[in-house]
């Protein structure tokens, strides 16, 4: 069996048996990147020698008989919004061109102590703002299933890297759907954990009450394995929650008998593509055949989620991104009149259009006279959205829905219409506002051979339940086994 395209679990078994070394596995993936990334453009930074050196050190540990971490030599790609000490971290922004963090993010430390090989940094929408990975200052990532289409965003580089078999696992971040949407568009598994499950220390902030780091993999078991490595308390993130981390990689194989799956009537309305709807409904039939109970529920405020998000997230962004002032790090304009002008010119030059738009939107929503009408109003509706979920989870274990209204759209199609772009996140955004975990798994293909994703949401800290429910589906279907031919 080839290294490339194996699941993380299969590859890990072969590493543990000694059939393949981490250097061999890492080299195979680096070769795949060299072969295919010229077309996909998923990676912003690949340090071949550094990756091989990490792999060699892990192989030597294994040869000495030392016990290894749970990722035991597997290559992992990392979204370029996560700080890596000594390796560039740009957030796909001109603002951070050449920035080299002086420390590792908590999740990067976790990857290292789990004996992962960091294979490269992946492209994204600038500062994680976008749904297509077109808002990168450096390159446009392409969907490996159709190079004329977007991989989704903002973690499009990580999703495309896993889909095109350039990494078995990858890290993404999800503020409004930025893991789940690209997972759906690229036909891979992507999971946003509960807010507080994974430390945000060293994650470059966008919307701090919404941001969460999570795994991409080419099957659910791989996502469970990577989440197990990432999750857990960290005192350096004051919103990190100190609650035990289950052994996801083991329990993922245990099906949930009689799981109750909720379907929100508000999710099946006009605007939902017919092929997407029929794939999701076929997915529910798979669950029925496994003994699941399907129940209709209501999420009456879900139609307001996008409006709430585009007040809350830009407000937080306008505050977070105030740190880019051209003083401590980041771009400084060459010409300016005075100190204030230096800030404004540096920011005007360093940020791209969508980042500027969101800073403007947030600054407006928080400014004197508008705070109550926009920001406070949005926070109140955010509470109603959470209350809807709390009510729904009294009668169901998980909620199933499409991950997006349509399969992947074409590059350039929505670039001039930000609002239409925002609406591609209509099924994912509520989970961030409510802080819930969500997973997207491959559940079908359109006639054009584009992947269709199924989303499952759960109550806070029920990642284990989501992973087990998702794995049940995966064991009955083969959508996750299909791989695109990149040409």
């Amino acid at each position: 069996m080839s290294i490339i395209g194996a699941t993380a679990g299969e590859l890990l078994q072969r590493l543990e048996r000694g059939d393949v070394s981490s250097v061999e596995a890492t080299t195979a993936y680096l070769d795949a990147i060299a072969l295919n990334d010229g077309r996909v453009k998923a990676f912003l930074h690949v340090d071949w020698d550094h990756a091989i050196a990490q792999a060699r050190a892990i192989d030597e540990k294994r040869q000495r008989g030392e016990s290894l971490g749970i990722l035991g030599g597997l290559p992992v790609a990392v979204k370029d919004v996560v700080c890596t000490q000594g390796q560039p971290t740009t957030c796909a922004s001109k603002m951070l061109k050449g920035f080299v963090p002086p420390y590792d993010a908590h999740v990067v430390t976790r990857l290292k102590t789990s004996d992962a090989v960091l294979i490269g940094k992946t492209n994204m929408d600038e500062f994680a703002m976008g749904s297509s990975t077109e808002n990168s200052a450096y390159q446009v990532t392409r969907n490996p299933w159709d190079l004329e289409r977007t991989p989704g965003g903002s973690s499009g580089g990580s999703a495309a890297a896993v889909a095109a078999s350039m990494a078995p696992l990858a890290l993404g971040t999800d503020t409004g759907g930025s893991i789940r949407l690209p997972a759906g568009y690229c036909g891979v598994v992507g999971m946003k954990p509960t807010y507080g499950r994974v430390s945000r220390f060293g994650l470059v902030a966008y919307g701090s009450s919404l941001d969460q780091i999570g795994p991409f993999a080419n099957d659910v078991a791989g996502a469970a394995l990577l989440l197990e490595a990432l999750a857990g308390y960290d005192r350096r993130d004051s919103t990190s929650v100190d609650t035990p981390v289950p052994q996801y990689s083991r329990t993922v194989e245990e099906p949930l008998a009689g799981v109750r799956i909720g379907i929100a009537k508000e999710h099946f309305v006009s605007g939902l593509d017919r092929e997407v709807e029929s794939s999701v409904r076929a997915g529910l039939d798979v669950y029925k055949s496994l003994g699941a109970e399907i129940k209709e529920i209501s999420l009456p405020h879900s139609k307001y989620a996008v409006a709430v998000y585009y007040i809350v997230a830009p407000s937080e962004a306008s505050s977070n991104l105030a740190r880019y002032d051209g003083v401590h790090y980041g771009h400084r304009a060459a010409q300016f009149d005075n100190m204030i002008d230096m800030y404004s010119a540096s920011r005007g030059e360093g940020f791209g259009a969508e980042v500027k738009r969101r800073i403007m939107l947030g600054t407006y929503a928080l400014s004197a006279g508008y705070y109550d009408a926009y920001y406070l109003k949005a926070l109140k509706v955010r509470r109603l959205i959470r209350n809807d979920f709390d009510e729904a989870f009294k009668s169901v274990d998980v909620i199933a829905s499409p991950v997006a209204p349509t399969p992947a759209f074409k590059i350039g199609e929505l670039m001039d219409d930000p609002l239409a772009m925002y609406l591609s996140d209509i099924y994912t955004i509520s989970a961030n506002l409510a802080g819930l975990p969500g997973i997207c798994l491959p559940a079908g293909f359109s006639r054009n051979n584009l992947p269709i994703g199924l989303q499952l949401l759960g109550p806070p800290f029920e990642e284990e339940r989501l992973l087990r429910t998702a794995r049940m589906f995966e064991c009955e279907t083969d959508f996750h086994k299909r791989r695109p031919t990149v040409e």
């Binding site: 002086p102 420390y103 919103t239 100190m339 002008d341 800030y343 010119a345 609002l419």
Partner: protein, 99 residues
């Protein structure tokens, strides 16, 4: 919600946000932000009089830790990404005019 967004509003917000925008960017922002604000006005359909705002998904309060000294970044590492530095400080243009 407030009245139609004007170009003057956008210019004021850009100043608050410390963003130097070109004329074309100001025009573009006026149109596109206006559309987004129209969209979010749908929130006014909902009565929220009795609703507590939800600031955070996990509503923690008063997270304390021991007041213990931890290692901090060495000076060279902290200055390594500075656009302008003399090796000891971050350098910025003169702040006080006429000084």
């Amino acid at each position: 919600m407030p009245a139609q967004l004007t170009r003057a509003d956008v210019l004021k917000v850009a100043r608050l946000a410390r963003l130097k925008l070109t004329d074309a960017e100001l025009d573009d922002c006026t149109v596109k932000l206006g559309k987004i604000l129209d969209y979010v006005a749908s929130l006014n359909e909902i009565n929220t009089d009795e609703v507590e705002p939800m600031v955070h998904a996990v509503e923690l309060s008063n997270v304390f830790r021991d007041d213990a000294v931890q290692p901090s970044l060495p000076q060279t590492a902290a200055l390594a990404n500075a656009p302008k530095s003399d090796g000891r400080f971050f350098l910025v243009p003169q702040i006080l005019e006429g000084a």
